[in-house]
């Protein structure tokens, strides 16, 4: 039995689609997960051949499961994760057991924000930054004479969960205390706040050849946290700008030592130069895979799977469509009683996909992290503005009824 072992998944989005894709390609799919709920919701995972639940995913434990699966007749062809922080661990095991040639060291650096900054210390895209140990004296850090605003983030932050924009010393102290309390052994990064339009660049590197698969401009809601509420495909990025972006991406990936991997970069255009916000060792989560598929007919998770399996990824665009994804957030707190308008939204002009995340009974809150985005609408249009308008207008039909708490 040709098997692909997946380490963790989310309930929807890119990582979930990867498992569906593997099943469609004819592989047995085994999912190793820490999430209890997946065992109970097994009927929602018809494409997963087997779910293995563990209390905590560790390398040793994965090795034990691999041996067990092999003894049971599974021929493991790849070990893949699209979920932080398991991407590099899965790639390492895939290289070891399945002869994949993924750039594990580079992925490892991407997983740790401090390691990324250190590796790219001399890269022109790196903003001024400092790294602190959680044991460092707070007052010493605070009296470094920063020019505010600054960004304070945990080395292991993901989905904007532990990234704070601070405007003064008091806010910086508060943010540092919060992060250190939550991650007492993780390093903290303090860096210049970069003001400028932010782009997400989806990249697949195969045998050293850098392929920019898609570029999206992000619409960001900035309060104390950064929440991306919209993704606008950059189909016709101005040539000069594209060239400088490509060079920036190339220099980053070369400095990190990426030869074979899929990753995405969040990068800002600040006063005529590109500055790296962060780089992550996988395709973006959420609607990203669907967006790329709708825009170009490329299934990036499928091509990533091929990369792990040792096949040549195919990144030829089958077509080009203007795409916009609008994410839905709310401003109140409450218990979800009912959702309306999903069907109506999906029948609006240009709408490609409507996704509603929470189930009835979920406690919903205003966004503190990207996980508090409760759905999205992907729409196309003849122009970028039209795609944006179609998605936003369609999303207006969706209403969440909340019992106040």
């Amino acid at each position: 039995m040709k098997t692909i072992l997946f380490i963790e998944t989310t309930k929807s989005g890119s990582s979930r689609e990867a498992i569906k894709t593997a099943a469609r390609l004819g592989y047995c799919t085994v999912l190793l997960t820490e999430r209890n709920s997946f065992m109970e919701q097994y009927e929602e995972f018809p494409d997963v051949t087997r779910v293995i639940h563990v209390r905590e995913i560790t390398e040793d434990l994965i090795r034990t499961e691999i041996r067990r699966l092999q003894q049971q007749g599974n021929s493991i062809k790849a070990i893949i994760s699209f979920v932080d922080p398991f991407v590099s661990m899965a790639a390492k095991l895939s290289n070891e057991y399945c002869d994949s040639i993924i750039s594990v060291d580079a992925l490892k650096k991407m997983e740790d924000k401090t390691a990324t900054r250190k590796a790219l210390k001399n890269n022109v895209t790196t903003p001024a930054f400092e790294i602190y140990q959680p044991t460092d004296e707070l007052d010493t850090i605070l009296n470094k004479g920063y020019t505010f605003p600054q960004i304070v983030k945990s080395a292991v932050s993901k989905a904007s969960k532990d990234v704070y924009l601070v405007g003064n010393k008091v806010e910086m102290k508060k943010a540092l205390k919060k992060i250190i309390k939550q991650y007492p052994v993780q390093k903290v990064v303090i860096e210049d706040y970069l003001d400028g339009p932010q782009y997400v660049v989806e990249v697949l590197v195969h045998n050293g050849t850098i392929n920019i698969v898609a570029i999206f401009k992000q619409d960001i809601t900035k309060k104390t946290k950064f929440i991306v509420t919209g993704y606008e495909l950059q189909l016709n990025l101005e040539k000069g700008l594209y060239e400088t972006l490509y060079k920036a991406v190339e220099s980053i990936l070369i400095d990190l030592g990426v030869t074979n991997a899929t990753c995405h970069l969040e990068i800002r255009y600040v006063n005529g130069s590109w500055k790296l916000v962060e780089v992550n060792p996988r395709i973006s989560g959420g609607a990203m895979n669907r967006m790329i598929e709708e825009a170009f007919g490329i299934n990036l998770v499928e091509e990533t799977i091929k990369l792990y399996l040792g096949y040549e990824p195919c990144l030829i665009r089958k077509y080009e469509k203007q795409i916009y994804a609008h994410y839905i957030t709310i401003n109140s707190y409450g218990n979800l009683l009912k959702v309306t308008g999903e069907n109506l939204a999906s029948h609006q002009p240009g709408v490609k996909e409507v996704y509603i995340k929470p189930s009835i009974g979920t406690i919903m809150i205003p966004p503190l992290s990207m996980g508090h985005r409760y759905g999205y609408v992907i729409a196309s249009g003849n122009t970028s503005d039209e795609a944006n308008e179609n998605a936003v207008n369609a999303a207006k039909n969706i209403k969440f009824y909340l019992d106040p708490i």
């Binding site: 401003n331 109140s332 009912k338 969706i398 969440f400 009824y401």
Partner: protein, 137 residues
């Protein structure tokens, strides 16, 4: 005492408990009831296959009532009608749409001996605020 008076006794208990939660018969010194409730809504059924007894309010039959007055001696009660509303605040068409109860000033007088079942409901249902609708753009 026969089966008939059981509803009358139950109604007496309901009145007592309703007065307690409304703060009429009991005043609290240390408990602050943020959300004041003063009604234990209920349904009544006759012996006729447990079908709930209904009264008409603005042309719509409602099976939900609030106890206003009780005359134990003759086992009669004055009930006010409660209107069932749906999640949008409109009169509920069916039990499936039922979200909350609204008080009305319409009252009826009933002989409690005619009923054999009382089905109390949560006091939280009465004047329950309508849900927040998000995103509110």
């Amino acid at each position: 005492m026969g089966k008939r008076s059981n509803i009358c006794l139950a109604m007496k208990t309901l009145q007592k408990e309703q007065n307690i939660i409304a703060g009429i018969d009991m005043e609290f010194q240390f408990i602050c009831m943020l959300k004041r409730v003063d009604t234990i809504p209920f349904m009544l059924s006759t012996s006729e296959k447990n079908k709930p007894f209904k009264a008409f309010y603005k042309g719509i039959a409602t099976p939900y009532f609030r106890l206003e007055k009780l005359n134990e001696e003759i086992c009669c009660a004055v009930l006010s009608l409660l209107e069932a509303i749906d999640i949008e605040g409109y009169p509920a068409d069916s039990y499936d749409d039922f979200y909350a109860l609204r008080k009305t000033k319409s009252c009826i007088i009933v002989n409690l001996n005619c009923f054999c079942v009382i089905n109390p409901l949560s006091p939280e249902l009465v004047n329950r605020p309508l849900p927040i609708i998000e995103p509110n753009c």
